[in-house]
């Protein structure tokens, strides 16, 4: 016992000596904080709290705005990963300055902009949000008439799954999405049942698999979306949207409107005079721009920051217009 213990003391002693040796030899090494040139240049912008909602398209918006705010305006950007509902809640508590891609959400607008007055709208992003029913490309090619809703009942049996109770399956996505699909199925008298996939991940995986194995799938989807650059889903035409046709939620029998995606900022931020607010306000780009950056992130696996850098360097003119 005793010898064993002594041996261990020996080991510890050697370790101490080694460590001291390391210290001495490492004296030439770089010290923490040696190159402080990059940090601390926050200028007059200060801190900019940017909400990042959980889909890649939004991540692309956020990456580019954050990159420009940081490198051109010298802001300290805090990106916060939050679901929409919680991000809006953050306007009131001062924890979120801006939401960059808002899809409708009239209920939230009423609650935070009209009632609580903690948020204000900051204009369009330039992106057009298109929601609808989509089928995989192979299916649209094999049965071209499937893209008209009137023919859907003809094919309903093909869309049957173990979940759809004998009817055709219409796959819906994440519960946070705007959806009228249950009402649509009922009011258009379609022989379908809405089945909730429950997440964007589940939706994309279903379409990806359907295209690969030539399976019959019809489901809710939307653009701008990076996945469309991998599998160009085909939209099914529903009865055309007219103003007010979606006024009564239970009686909806028309397509979704085209959403003008917009930006929301906290009331405090809008009044702060921060250059980051001016950037958010003038930030504007196209669906193609967003899909490009989203593809860099999701398919090419660049970090959001690297993806933003790549796009900003290639589109300097657009960026300069935002920060002028």
């Amino acid at each position: 016992m005793a010898t064993q213990v002594r041996q261990r003391t020996g080991v510890a002693g050697i370790a101490v000596v080694t460590v001291i040796g390391l210290t001495l030899t490492a004296c030439g090494g770089a010290k923490v904080g040696d190159d402080s040139a990059d940090s601390g240049s926050s200028g007059k912008c200060g801190t900019f709290n940017l909400a990042v909602n959980p889909w890649v398209g939004y991540e692309a918006d956020a990456a580019v705005v954050a990159y420009v705010a940081q490198h051109d305006l010298g802001c300290t950007v805090n990106k916060k990963d939050l679901k929409e509902e919680i991000a809006w809640q953050g306007f009131g508590t001062g924890e979120v300055d801006a939401v960059l891609e808002n899809w409708g959400h009239d209920d939230l607008k009423k609650k935070y902009i009209t009632d609580q007055k903690t948020a204000v709208a900051a204009g369009s992003t330039g992106n057009k949000g298109i929601i609808g029913w989509y089928v995989p490309p192979w299916l649209a090619k094999a049965h071209p008439d499937i893209t008209d809703w009137k023919n859907l009942n003809k094919y309903a049996a093909e869309f049957k799954t173990s979940e759809s109770g004998g009817k055709g399956q219409l796959l819906d996505g994440d519960p946070s999405y705007v959806t009228n699909d249950e009402a649509l199925v009922k009011n258009l008298k379609l022989d379908f049942k809405v089945v909730y996939a429950g997440s964007e991940t589940a939706l994309i995986q279903s379409f990806r698999k359907a295209e690969k194995n030539k399976e019959w799938v019809i489901g809710y989807f939307y653009e701008p979306q990076w996945f469309l650059s991998e599998v160009p889903l085909v939209k099914v035409d529903l009865p055309a949207y007219t103003t007010g046709c979606d006024a009564d939620a239970a009686k909806i029998a028309c397509d979704y409107p085209v959403y003008d995606l917009d930006k929301i900022v906290s009331a405090k931020f809008a009044k702060s005079g921060s250059p980051a607010y001016d950037l958010v306000k003038s930030f504007n780009w196209t669906n193609d721009d967003q899909n490009t950056v989203a593809k860099y992130i999701a398919v090419d696996k660049l970090s959001p920051d690297a993806a933003a850098k790549k796009w900003v360097e290639a589109n300097r003119a657009k960026v300069d217009a935002w920060i002028k």
Binding site: V5, I86, E163, G198, A202, Q205
Partner: protein, 657 residues
């Protein structure tokens, strides 16, 4: 559940044969009435519809949000709590994970952290776990996830620290007083079964976005096991020892400090261990309200369906869990080892500890000062190889197993799930209630019957009866599959130590790996269906059932098995006639735990196509106007959990008495 019953029946006496007949009669009556009354009074509610209760929850939520800046409860209570916890988290983060005080790096770099971890593991455990801890933490760096891991560690440490601050005194109190125990237990059940998604949004309302809310969410989930185990530890100190102390003139206080606490130390440390494991299980969920760390990597990777990256981060969580588990387990064993070999070793221990502390201090200093010791060197090459290997494996499985898995899925869905679900959802609600109450009373006694009826009344009150029954059907099917798997693997492990050694690390990993990681491959294999949710639940719940059954089988006395062998029984007969019947209390416990664990996956199931309550909860978290419905769905899950917990526990007591 049916399986467990069947197994317990053969050994039972006349009384139990009677009970079996009664159960059969109830089921037959149900089927007959179902045929007649099908589709009537099923209490269905469409996805977007709300009840008054749901709207009321919404209003409460809104009014809290509206006056949070003027309400004194916020100004003087919640804001203060938030401040303290936020400071704690930020302090630890600045120490090990986030840049601080004008430095581009945290105060202590990787070498310092590895040094501290090694030293502490050695001091509280032994040199073997110290080696494991050092290797494990170095591996995290090699995976290219050093900072993320340290963020996760900071949150885990703060949450466990805060949890223990409350849990240990409360646990001691519950251990000393039966009444406190009775009052506390329902709250603990509630804290553990209420899906986290339900209280994430309100938490951010109370405690704002970020570290504090994430920590508090974790505390709510991680404290109950520590409270329960501490209470259990105090209770299991032999009565006679306490009496002896009291007869020697010890006051209550002395008895507690000198006898009860020291004697239950070992078990209390196990409570700490369980608390840490529960905290780590919350990592990915907390990432949804901007908690930094590995969970964020997992969630972000999933947005682009990047299984490899998600797996890499998930593996880091598993590694951290295994290190913390082994270290705390070794720490709990140390108390005993130290007591046995006190004398000479203790005199040498002090100088050794001192030397170790000096070495650690030097390492910390180095990592504070020099870049090479502060920033983990290398580019995380191991991480990217792990990621691409995981990608390759998943695509292989997706390409080659799809046909097979689809057949299996359709078989189970059409043969078992669909009929059972329609029996539950298409029967009138009062019929299902009557059947469940009758079954509860027959299987668990009249008290279980009363609990069942209270739970059912409340369940109807949530307005989500139909969704609850859909969830119940999937849950029971998943539990049956968990028990089948548990019996096969559990018996195998119980009979062979080698199999046990091989399987156990896999089971540990399955319990700690965030479900988000394996959802994508499962989606590819089984599609967005209820079955995918069932498979995910099985991955999480089966390890518990397997471990409990293995322990039960191992506890069957050697002599009994030998007697059976010499009587000419073959292996199959020994298993079915001796080992399984004799471990039937383990089987009931496994059913109970299996079911509770399956229920805790209901929300995850909602993300992959299970719909029903899981979907309602997720929807409530995502959409303001569905908030109240999500809360009601969370309550419904808790009610299902409490109901089955009470029935199976009462049944277990009957089986073992």
């Amino acid at each position: 559940m049916a399986v467990a019953l069947e197994k317990s029946a053969p050994l039972a006496g006349v009384r139990k044969v009677g009970r079996r007949t009664v159960v059969a009669a109830i089921l037959v009556a149900w089927l007959l009435l179902f045929v007649v009354l099908r589709g009537r009074q099923t209490l269905t509610l469409a996805a977007a519809d709300l009840t008054d209760l749901h709207r009321w929850f919404n209003d409460v939520n809104d009014s809290i949000g509206a006056d949070r800046n003027s309400n004194p409860l916020f100004l003087y209570f919640f804001n203060e709590i938030r401040l303290v916890i936020d400071n704690l988290v930020t302090f630890i983060q600045h120490l090990i994970s986030q840049p601080s005080a004008g430095r581009p790096l945290p105060q202590i770099g990787w070498l310092g952290v590895v040094g501290i971890v090694g030293y502490v593991s050695w001091a509280v455990g032994n040199w073997r776990v110290a080696l494991l801890a050092v290797a494990g933490f170095t591996f995290l760096g090699l995976q290219g996830l050093w900072q993320e891991s340290m963020d996760t560690l900071s949150l885990t440490l703060s949450a466990v620290f805060v949890a223990l601050l409350f849990a240990i005194p409360l646990g001691v109190w519950a251990g000393l007083s039966d009444r406190v125990n009775r009052i506390v237990t329902p709250f603990l059940d509630f804290m553990q079964t209420m899906p986290t998604f339900v209280y994430l949004a309100p938490l951010t309302l109370f405690f704002l976005i970020g570290g504090a809310s994430a920590t508090i969410a974790t505390v709510i989930y991680a404290a109950p096991p520590a409270i329960r185990i501490t209470a259990h530890a105090i209770r299991s100190v032999p009565e006679t020892t306490v009496e002896a102390a009291e007869s020697l003139g010890a006051t209550r206080r002395q008895a507690l400090l000198k006898v009860l606490l020291p004697m239950s130390k070992r078990t209390v440390v196990m409570g700490v261990n369980q608390s840490i494991m529960a905290a780590l299980a919350m990592v990915t969920i907390a990432a949804l309200i901007d908690a930094p760390g590995l969970g964020k990597t997992v969630v972000q990777a999933l947005q682009s369906l990047d299984v490899g990256t998600a797996f890499n981060a998930g593996l880091a969580i598993v590694v951290m869990a295994i290190v913390l588990d082994r270290v705390t387990t070794a720490a709990s064993a140390r108390a005993e080892t130290a007591r046995r070999s006190k004398n000479r070793f203790l005199t040498w221990r002090r100088p050794l500890l001192g030397a170790g502390a000096a070495v650690t201090a030097v390492l910390v200093y180095l990592s504070h000062t020099y870049l090479w010791a502060a920033e983990f060197p290398g580019d995380g090459g191991i991480g990217s190889s792990i990621a691409s290997a995981a990608d390759t494996a998943t695509s292989w499985a997706q390409d080659n197993l799809s046909g097979l898995t689809n057949a299996f899925r359709d078989g189970i869905t059409n043969g078992l799930l669909n009929p059972f679900q329609s029996l539950l959802t298409d029967s009138p609600w009062w019929l299902v209630c009557a059947v469940l109450i009758a079954l509860g009373a027959v299987l668990g006694g009249w008290r279980a019957g009363v609990t069942t009826s209270v739970c059912l009344v409340l369940l109807v009150g949530t307005g989500l009866w139909s969704d609850a029954m859909t969830t119940l059907a999937s849950t029971l099917v998943a539990t049956v599959l968990v028990m089948l798997l548990g019996m096969v693997l559990g018996v195998w492990m119980g009979r062979s130590p080698l199999v046990d050694r091989l399987l156990r690390p896999t089971l540990d990993a399955a319990q700690v790996m965030p479900p988000f990681v394996y959802l994508v491959p499962f989606l590819a294999l089984f599609g967005a269906t209820r079955f995918t949710a069932i498979v995910a639940a099985i991955v999480y719940a089966a390890p518990v059932a397997i471990k409990i059954i293995a322990d039960g089988v191992r506890a069957v006395p050697e002599t009994t098995v030998e007697a059976a062998t010499s009587a000419g029984c073959n292996t199959w007969q020994i298993i079915t006639k001796v080992q399984l019947p004799m471990s039937r209390s383990a089987l009931t416990l496994a059913t109970n735990q299996g079911l509770i664990y399956v229920l805790s996956m209901v929300v995850v199931g909602g993300l992959v196509g299970a719909g029903a309550l899981g979907y309602d909860v997720v929807a409530g978290f995502s959409q303001g106007q569905l908030y109240g419905k999500g809360l009601a769905a969370g309550l419904a899950i808790v009610l299902l959990g409490v109901m089955f917990d009470r029935i199976t526990q009462a049944a277990a007591r009957r089986a073992s008495s």
